[in-house]
């Protein structure tokens, strides 16, 4: 589905990604773990085209997308739910959702996708005419995920969906993600600091530190590795 090889992203002299190679199999949930500053967000930003890698290549389903513009990459089936959720607070809930599918030619399916997002998150339907600024943290996360799904993505990039949410809401969100993969065969790349909740639904875990991959393994093996947990995950 997605192959990264030796991807380097640098902001000035600081290397956020220092030669990352990673393969994300189709239909999997891959959890990307690591402390603050490990390069997790930069990894997603490089894939969705918000930053151009300085070196290396990113290949999506056999097509090289390195250096492509974000607005074109989303048309290839990559939806990025950014950190801090990235909802547009000046717009209403429904406008935020509609925006996710405006580029699509298939207007009928866009309408269907809107209904499905409302089915997935009935709270959003109740609040559809309200300004997005009135939503709670959990509702904003639902809106952001619902909006990403409007594009019918093949690859969903989630940046810290649990950030700032209560544990109960976090587990609801994680359940939704796991359920999505079951039903729609979407591939998920899930960036989290909250290692436990991410590993609980992931098929694979990747641990980053200072812009490099330090471990990539089965989630249970990662969770059981005390040394790794102490060194990089703070558990």
């Amino acid at each position: 589905m997605l192959d990264l090889s030796d991807v380097v992203v640098a902001y000035g002299a600081v290397r956020a990604l220092d030669g990352i190679s990673l393969t994300v199999p189709a239909g999997s949930i891959t959890a990307v773990l690591g402390a603050n500053g490990a390069g997790k967000s930069s990894l997603l930003r490089a894939i969705s085209g918000l930053v151009a890698p300085r070196a290396g290549s990113i290949v999506l389903n056999g097509r090289k997308i390195t250096g492509m513009a974000s607005e074109e990459i989303v048309r290839l089936g990559v939806s990025h739910v950014p950190e801090g959720r990235g909802i547009i607070t000046e717009l209403t809930v429904e406008e935020n959702l509609r925006l996710g599918a405006l580029w699509r030619r298939d207007r009928r399916d866009a309408t269907l996708a809107l209904e499905q997002s409302y089915e997935l998150f009935p709270r959003l339907h109740e609040r559809r005419r309200r300004a997005a600024s009135t939503l709670s943290g959990g509702e904003r996360q639902m809106l952001s995920i619902g909006r990403a799904l409007m594009a019918r993505p093949k690859l969903l990039l989630l940046d810290e969906p649990s950030l700032g949410l209560a544990p109960l809401i976090t587990s609801q969100i994680m359940a939704v993600i796991a359920d999505l993969r079951e039903r729609s065969a979407v591939t998920v790349l899930l960036v989290e600091q909250n290692a436990n909740s991410a590993l609980a639904i992931a098929d694979r875990g990747v641990v980053l530190n200072l812009g490099r991959v330090v471990a990539a393994d089965d989630p249970r093996t990662l969770a059981a590795d005390d040394q790794l947990r102490h060194a990089y995950l703070g558990l």
Binding site: E71, H80, G84, I88, T89, R98, L99, L102, A151
Partner: protein
Amino acid sequence: MSRFIDLTLNGVTSGMIYASVALALVLIWRATRIVNFAQGAMLMITTFIASSVIAASGSYILGFAAALAAGLVLGAALERLLVRPVEGGPPINAVIVTLGLLIFLQAVAGMIWGNTPRSFPAALSIQGFRIGGRHVLFSPFDLFTVGSVLVMSLALGLLFTRTGMGLRMRAAAFEPEVARLLGVRVGRMLTWGWALAAVAGSLAGLLVAPVVFVGPNTFDAELVFGFTAAVLGGLDSAIGAVVGGLILGVALSYVSGYESPALVTLAALVILVVVLMVRPSGLFTHAKARRV
């Protein structure tokens, strides 16, 4: 009393012209956070084009349409060629570019059309309607002015709130990065923003030209009044631009009629300073802290 009515009507008419310039400034401010100081010069160019087309064809409507079309093209071209390279840089760079453009356009207009202001026709009669045996200070052309600005404002309002294009433009203005992730071609939206703004400006030029004439510097005051109206309404609000224009127009009309026409520009500056001191976010923008 009749004097009061006359001054109010006159204020509404000029207020709609200020509103049109203010709309042009607000559209660009919302999309790119740039105050377009070249707006006055841009509408001067399009009005000159209208003047030439009317002179050549004898048709006011043709000149009117040519000015609006020229605005659309001029706005888009300027964004692409001059503003795009400085977008994302420090705001002062863009401001300097628009100031430079102002001087450049005025010089070019002087070279092509000469520096002597020429007269410009009105679409309809400028003789006031007869009501109760006297002519009020409101003519068929004033009605045309008010009507055409209202129609344009309404069209822009519908475009922004009811169409996918408008939704994209708003998203691109509020959160360009998020908009890109959702597939919005942000650059294209900014070009459209400049193009539509220039159309609003062109309309103002056509409506005010019969009074101020067409010359390289005859529209300088329109930018000042339009900017004051935009700040009064809140630079972020299109509705604020229209209401700000109306308030300013009526206020300046009273100053002119009850005191002296010489005080009009000064009064506009006083209003501008007072608004910036008392309510810098304007009447219609509720300033809010943005969490990032």
